[in-house]
């Protein structure tokens, strides 16, 4: 507490960690996408390429949330 610089960097670290909490949601989303994709491929193996493409697309969108969080965390640590 006596060193304001150390305090600020500690707070930055906490903030970045909190920002990355959104990775929970992204992880769940990616998991659900993979679950649905694999189930669909199991039921209809003929449509696997189409399902795979759309699955990866969906996973990418779900992952985007975590990526924004990552961007925010990086900005907090390095740029703010």
């Amino acid at each position: 507490m006596n060193d304001p610089v150390a305090f600020v960097s500690a707070m930055k670290a906490i903030g970045a960690g909190l920002a990355m909490v959104s990775a929970i949601g992204a992880g769940i989303g990616v998991g659900i996408a993979a679950l649905g994709g694999v189930q669909a491929m199991g039921r209809n193996p003929d449509a696997a390429p189409l399902i795979q493409t759309n699955m990866i697309l969906g996973m990418a969108f779900a992952e985007a949330v975590a990526i924004y969080a990552l961007a925010v965390a990086l900005i907090i640590i390095f740029a703010a």
Binding site: T53, I56, L57, A60, E63, A64, I67, Y68, L70, A71
Partner: protein, 359 residues
Amino acid sequence: MSEVETKKRRFGFKRWIVLALIALGVYTAFLGPTIFRPISPVVVLPPEGTGLEIFGFPITNTILGTLIADLVVILLGLSAYRFHKSGQIVPSGVYNFFEVIVQFLWNTVEGAAGNKWGKRIFPVVATIFLLIFVANLSKLIPGYESFGQIKELHHGVGYAPVKLFTIGSLNVYTIDKGQPVEAGHADEEHAASDDKSAAYSVAAYAEGGDELCHSCEVVPFLRGAATDLNFPLALAISTVFLVQVFGVWALGPAYFEKFFQIRALVRGGILGSVNFVVGLLELILEFAKVLSFSFRLFGNIFAGTLLLSILGALTAVLIPVGLYFFEIFFGIIQAYVFFLLATMFISIALVSHHAEEHH
């Protein structure tokens, strides 16, 4: 009988090699002299200069990495050029590998955008894939991020340099994990005693071609292209820009109605204004695409590099092997995801927004 014996011996031989490597790893990481011990790298986001400059433009280590990836990709392209010039029919060697990749990509692109537009967008997306693919895999080559210049660390804990051997006028140093030096102290010490040691230092610098330091870090000559935000950001900006270009190419000015749904606004009603706002949101989404594209690639690769070096510094043996496989997998997957998303966005932009609405 003899065959079985040779087989057994060969298996045993390989096993001994692996065991010897593990023993060597354990020795260097935990038992041997401290200069062999792996050092946790200094985490820096921006690319570091290598001291090279072309017309005043500094060549950073990530730019060198990018250029090496470019070189490999161009060599692949040259193999294709040579093959098709030779008029052979059966592909072989490097070209065969290249053709397998291109065929895979072409099938995906053709499936998403059709034959006609597929041919137009293919050079863009295939180059994206190849560049990221080669960059991600080449950065896993040992030595890629460990050879470099020794430089003075400005804050944190650095290590004292140790001279290993000399080739001609070039002195090769390593940094010793057994001699940690606090950066701030070193600076102060240096500042305090600059007058006395100046002559000696200058001589040493001139001889070694390196800048000797007290609290040192290694600045690698080569760094994975994707660990520099500029590389994925450049690809993302190019991709999103090309999405608009291809959209306009396919639909003409009508493409922009996707963002500014003036027709819906004029038609009126609550739904019309909602549609207008949604269109504006799509415009914002285009910028979000740039962000997600670039940070996805950068985040994955940078985190992978970080994980590899930090875990490698902590447990130098066995665990990094698994992580290397993980990194190879992720390198390929990220290249594929970037490629696939680019293909998808472009092929979605090719289709008229209104045509869908009317159906």
